[in-house]
Amino acid sequence: MPQMNMVQAINDALRVAMRRDKRVVLLGEDVGKVGGVFRVTAGLFDEFGDARVIDTPLSEGGIIGAAVGMAMYGLVPIPEIQFADFIWPAYDQIVNELAKYRYRSGGEYPVSMVIRTPVGGGIRGGHYHSQHPEAHFVCVPGLKVVIPSNAYDAKGLLLSAIADPDPVLFFEPKRVYRAAKGEVPEGEYTVPLSSAAVVRAGDDVTVLAYGAMLYEALDASAKAQQQGVHCEVIDLRTLWPVDIDTILRSVEKTGRLVIVHEAPRTGGYGAELVSLVCEKAFYHLQAPPVRVTGFDTPFPYTLETEYMPLSHRILPAVLQVARA
């Protein structure tokens, strides 16, 4: 099986989807000739041409609005937002239009697409090239939110998302774009949406993580093990609708919960996870759930590694929860 990093795996998924289905089109800023500022769409312009791999004017609202219309027609648009930090000009089209289209039209106009966008910090991007905005989308009924942590899942989840009848935000953790290498099958395969993966088994503490922070959670869990604390680490993969069963199964076993995410703590996605677990497994909890997250500030530049919830901050949280 070929080795690929996440950029290559996503590129491969796009190629597979475009070869199989003429309706699939890509659009965005710099996705064409230059193949994306992260090279995720490299080579696709040459293979599929200007009508299907489209460099657009600089307007995220225009990109998503046009993609909505394309989807209504019957194409399968995969718009790219160059950095998640620049998705806000399209937020109206996403929240008020895309997410509500099927509902507001009584089912007459289902509108689905996959919005691809790189997220997260750790690339020295400061607060305009590091945001991790899942909380802003998980709270919007009608959207699905997906984030892979490795190359295999990236391709398999993206192919699932493209086939999905609902709009999907597909977040790409750019900190591990190149580092997350692994074996990736050629051709078609899928990783189902709304299915989390238990990536490390353990009985003491459940650690929920996703995207680039999964590796930090794993690193902290390995270190915790040396101190006798056995973590069960779950890669959520789909943030909404989340795989609640896998989470509950683990928490019912461990009774202890740590959640890791890069976004600021307040109003973050971690709060929803805490609440779900409290609602559904309260009496299993033996300690207060803990969120290890970015701080409630804009994402900084020089101090980014202090800002992010890296292994050195996860480990004490895990130990504290284990011993509470």
Binding site: G65, G69, M70, M72, R104, S105, K144, P241
Partner: protein, 373 residues
């Protein structure tokens, strides 16, 4: 020749395209060439639209429906432009064009079902009145937010172009919507990619209480086309024939692969913004007078009367017919029950995920709201 000069070449910016003369005859140079039967048919649609507007406003005043947003004075702009589109073309509406939907084939009953938000409403009682949908007639979905349909109309037509199909879209919006980001992006994308979209701006003088001179400092809306390398035309929106001719030209241009057209239809909002609005707070009734004198329906009637194709008797019969159909549809709509509880959870996704299944059960098992409809 630059597009700037191109647009300017078509007409001077302040020139307004007219076909129907004051004496009821048509300028032969631009006459779209409709048969008298066709004009009568459209005229019936104009009367239907205006009569429904009046009846719906009355229903709202009686508290039987919650809201209505009407098109008094703008009927010719709306019906003429829809008439000019081919059946295979798609309409992306704003909220003020029920006349267009009915012309395309939305049934009066379905329209009324929406006004009452009942179980037969095409949008299942989920949206306010006047926010129906009619996909089978290639007619879009209505959103309250201003301007959002514009980029969507562009995306749709662009998709058809990519797919190699000769399909154009027409999108309606008001003068206020030209200030929205969607107008800017929609026009710009359409210009760059030569997308077959007709941008139909109903310049009715107002955005709720904000007059056009507060909306833009440009002398016309049509000239905004120039900023996007797009052809812009200004048409008398109260002249049915001019609207038809201009829209047809735009569709032909689209079909020839020459891309988009911006049409500014000069008209006037003769009523309040909606039933929630009291225009007397910001506008004197005397401002209506010049526009009343050029009423778009009267002008067609004058034209038809001159041809001997219409008279008071036919007018009365036409209105009586509308009233009868309206009464009947209201009666049915009012008796139709509200959408079932569980419909609230449908269509959020193609099929409800676990959390919606849970919530649906909670709602159904739980107590009913006291003031439930």
């Amino acid at each position: 020749m630059s597009s700037h000069q191109g647009a300017a070449g078509v007409q001077e910016p302040l020139e307004v395209f007219r076909v129907l003369r004051d004496d009821g005859t048509l300028d032969p140079e631009h006459d779209p060439g409709l048969t008298t039967e066709e004009v009568v048919e459209i005229y019936r649609g104009l009367v239907l639209t205006r009569t429904l507007d009046q009846r719906l406003t009355a229903l709202q005043r009686q508290g039987r429906i919650g809201f209505h947003v009407g098109s008094l004075g703008e009927e010719a702009a709306i019906l003429g432009s829809t008439y000019a589109m081919r059946d295979t073309d798609w309409i992306f509406p704003c909220y003020r064009e029920f006349g267009s939907a009915l012309m395309r084939g939305l049934s009066l009953q379905k329209f009324l079902d929406n006004m009452f938000g009942n179980a037969n409403d095409t949008v299942k009682g989920r949206q306010m009145p006047d926010h129906y949908t009619c996909r089978e007639k290639r007619w879009g979905s209505i959103s309250s937010p201003v301007g959002t349909q514009i980029t969507q109309a562009v995306g749709f037509a662009w998709a058809a172009k990519i797919d190699g199909k000769d399909i154009a879209t027409l999108t309606y919006f008001g003068d206020g919507a030209t200030s929205s980001p969607e107008f800017h992006s929609g026009m710009n994308f359409a210009g760059v990619f030569k997308v077959p979209t007709v941008f139909f701006c109903r310049n009715n003088g107002w955005a709720i209480s904000v007059p056009t001179e507060r909306q833009t400092a440009s002398a016309t809306f049509a000239q905004k086309a120039d900023a996007y390398g797009v052809v812009g035309v200004r048409v008398d929106g109260n002249d049915l024939f001019a609207v038809i001719a201009a829209t047809r030209q735009a569709v032909e241009r689209a079909a020839r692969g020459e891309g988009p057209t911006l049409i500014e239809a000069l008209t006037y909002r003769m009523g309040g913004h909606s039933t929630s609005d009291d225009p007397l707070r910001y506008r004197g009734d005397e401002q209506l007078e010049p526009w009343a004198a050029r009423d778009p329906i009267e002008r067609v009637r004058h034209h038809l009367t001159r041809l001997g194709a219409w008279d008071d008797e036919r007018e009365a019969a036409c209105i009586a017919d509308v009233d009868a159909r309206f009464k009947q549809a209201v009666a049915v709509a009012e008796q139709t029950p509200p959408p079932p509880l569980e419909s609230m959870f449908e269509d959020v996704y193609e099929s409800p995920p676990w959390h919606l299944v849970e919530q649906r059960e909670q709602l159904i098992q739980g107590p009913r709201a006291p003031k439930s409809h």
